[in-house]
Symmetry: C2
Subunit: 406 residues, 2 copies
């Protein structure tokens, strides 16, 4: 039996029971109305924890530290996050400073430092202003309705906060999964980091928690490869505190299926919001590849298409140039049969059996001007299915990313 | 003993003995002063032949046909090339048309059709105008000094032709290697194809010829991944006709070493010219990675850096933002030790031991404004060495690639 999953109105990362959050403005970023730059997320009881991190050869010491403190035998209470400074490529001081950030937060909350995680996002190569950390972290007041402040505090040049929560009932017990992310999907002057935090009051076996997160990240955050550049600080964390009071979720039953689907929905929403907020972008591009030999083939091909500069500029120019789509799909080097490919823009077919057909051009040009453009490529050689998201590439993007001159 | 390699003044693809070339304007492209759109390259005797082709899942039938006609047991006399239409994704007609192009050229030259290769570059998804092929290919007059016309005929939106020749002497016999390429390194409205043809009058064993070309392509054309988009039509061919009258070159002696180096020099020049001619670009970016664990690591890391949009926009903005260089190098996921990295812009050091140092910012900003920017990253963990080339990313690029609206 499939358990229905409901949206939680005004859901945030602190919507799940037992989670509180808050933020403060310390002056790491330039001031602005309502601006915050340190966020704190805390659970009133220890959480099982799962994480996925940047695969870059150079990572922030915050990633190094979190990797040590995340695992099936670890428990976590809190996450402290600053924006405006990445604490990356600063020498040995970086790890000392990351540790001290967790010490300050742990002392402030009265919890174990080993159960405290940390993230930083912002300029690479600049030491983190620890004096501000020491002064302002203890001033953060966390509250059950503080998820919005946390969402605000982790932003860099994002145009808006990215939050969601969903819930499902198991034997009369409501389980909630909430989440928050930051990242504007494309390049920033000094920061391209993607951060996301997902919380749940479900009681989840740690190994199942990690498997669930890894599966969800594969279909969401890993499918928004919008500029091919991978940050040194990318982090996704999933914390489960069991505060809902339900039975343990460990796979193999309806509750586990519902939990996995809820985590997937939250991650997908948070990932799409990052792609939608791409620097200088005007349009979200959703690419669906269906009928591939495998899901992995479809995921790969859709990702290549969504991240192709040729496709991005074609969408920006409202150019139904399906040759670019073919090139980008083929660039994935997956097996396919060119003569079987059908292609659609917002459900309007423009290619049949591998060849362009005579379609109403104006209707496709109009479709390409919408807030969301859906490109669908049917390979018709199997059952593999995958989606990916990107955004268009505009002059504004280049202006923004080159205008910053030392 | 290393044999010296000399530059051939005004060298072209027909500089090597026994090669002739020519071009004609057939009206596939829009007319313009001096514009040509079909080129023909021919050797007066059969050539051993080597080739490398696009790895895209979707390739032009010209690539399919050339793959059949290139191999250690094959001989080749001529190559017919058109610009303005890619002859790709047009259904079964594509292969028939590609074959007919070689038939027309072979009949015109009085040679074997199986010894005739073909390339097309231009719009994908549009059938090639065979009526123009039938009318104009027979009008092409080839000549020993026709290399320039061939170079002109294969251009799409390139801003200039790309040609070179070098020579070396073995026992009093002068051997020449010439070449031509097209491609502007970044995205074009409908065409992103990279084509290159290298010719030599050396007498070269076919297996050694292929090994030499593959090695040269690895260090040249494969290191200018300027936008991550791989054309359906990419082709590099190397033809050796033995007209110089020298002994066979098959590896293991000074003549073979000189030949390999000559092919490498020609390929590197032709590849760099493509990167320099990148759409909307103002600056050639050369990235050198040294001190990696292996050459392959260094090649991979330099390529990631040269193709990073973060690095491209930083150079355009004259921003000595070495955090972006770190991110891009690390994105290659090669093993390295962050604390050992030194980084230089045009030989001015900006990072030592993984940390930014206090350098004269104005001198680096000035360096970033030059025609060529050299980024050098010393990893200091081994002897691995590699270089890659790209160009800056400008608003002009986005304008050009999005302005084309159906």
């Amino acid at each position: 039996m499939t358990l229905p999953i409901a949206s939680v109105p005004n859901g945030t990362v602190s919507s799940a029971k037992g989670f509180s959050a808050g933020g403060v403005f310390a002056g790491i970023k330039t001031p602005g109305p309502g601006k915050l730059d340190i966020g704190l997320l805390v659970s009133d009881q220890p959480c099982t924890v799962a994480g996925t991190f940047s695969q870059n050869s150079i990572v922030s010491p915050t990633v190094t530290l979190d990797r040590e403190r995340v695992g099936v035998d670890k428990r976590v209470r809190a996450v402290i996050v600053n924006s405006g400074c990445a604490n990356t490529a600063v020498g040995e001081h970086g790890l000392l400073d990351a540790k001290e950030m967790t010490e300050i937060a742990a002392e402030h909350l009265g919890i174990d430092v080993e159960q405290t995680l940390v993230s930083s996002t912002g300029v690479i190569g600049v030491e983190i202003p620890m004096a501000l950390m020491r002064e302002f972290i203890p001033k953060i007041e966390v509250a059950e309705d503080g998820g919005g402040d946390f969402a605000n505090a982790i932003l860099t040049t994002d145009r808006r906060t990215k939050e969601i929560a969903v819930s499902f009932d198991v034997d009369g017990v409501t389980h909630t999964v909430g989440g928050v992310s930051k990242g504007s999907g494309m390049i920033h002057p000094n920061m391209a980091t993607m951060l996301a935090y997902v919380t749940t009051d479900a009681n989840v076996d740690p190994a199942f928690l990690q498997a669930t997160l890894s599966a969800a990240v594969k279909l969401s955050f890993n499918q928004i490869d919008v500029d091919g550049d991978q940050s040194t600080n990318d982090t996704v964390l999933l914390l489960a505190n069991g505060a809902a009071g339900g039975a343990e979720i460990s796979g193999g039953d309806d509750a586990s299926t519902a939990f996995s689907e809820a985590v997937h929905q939250v991650c997908e929403h948070l990932a799409i919001e990052i792609a939608r907020d791409g620097e200088g972008s005007t349009t979200l591009i959703e690419v669906t590849v269906e009928g591939a030999h495998s899901d992995d083939d479809a995921l790969k091909a859709s990702r290549e298409c969504a991240s192709s500069l040729l496709v991005k500029t074609a969408v920006y120019g409202r150019d139904p140039n399906w040759g670019r789509i073919f090139m980008a799909i083929g660039k994935s080097e997956i097996p396919l049969d060119e003569s079987k490919i059908d292609t659609f823009v917002n459900d309007i077919q423009i290619v049949a059996d591998g060849k362009g057909i005579s379609y109403n051009i104006q209707s496709v040009v109009s479709a390409l001007g919408g807030d969301v453009v859906r490109l669908r490529v049917a390979l018709n050689v199997g059952d593999g299915y995958g989606r990916a998201w990107g955004c268009d590439l505009t002059e504004e993007y280049v202006v923004f990313n080159s205008a910053y001159t030392t």
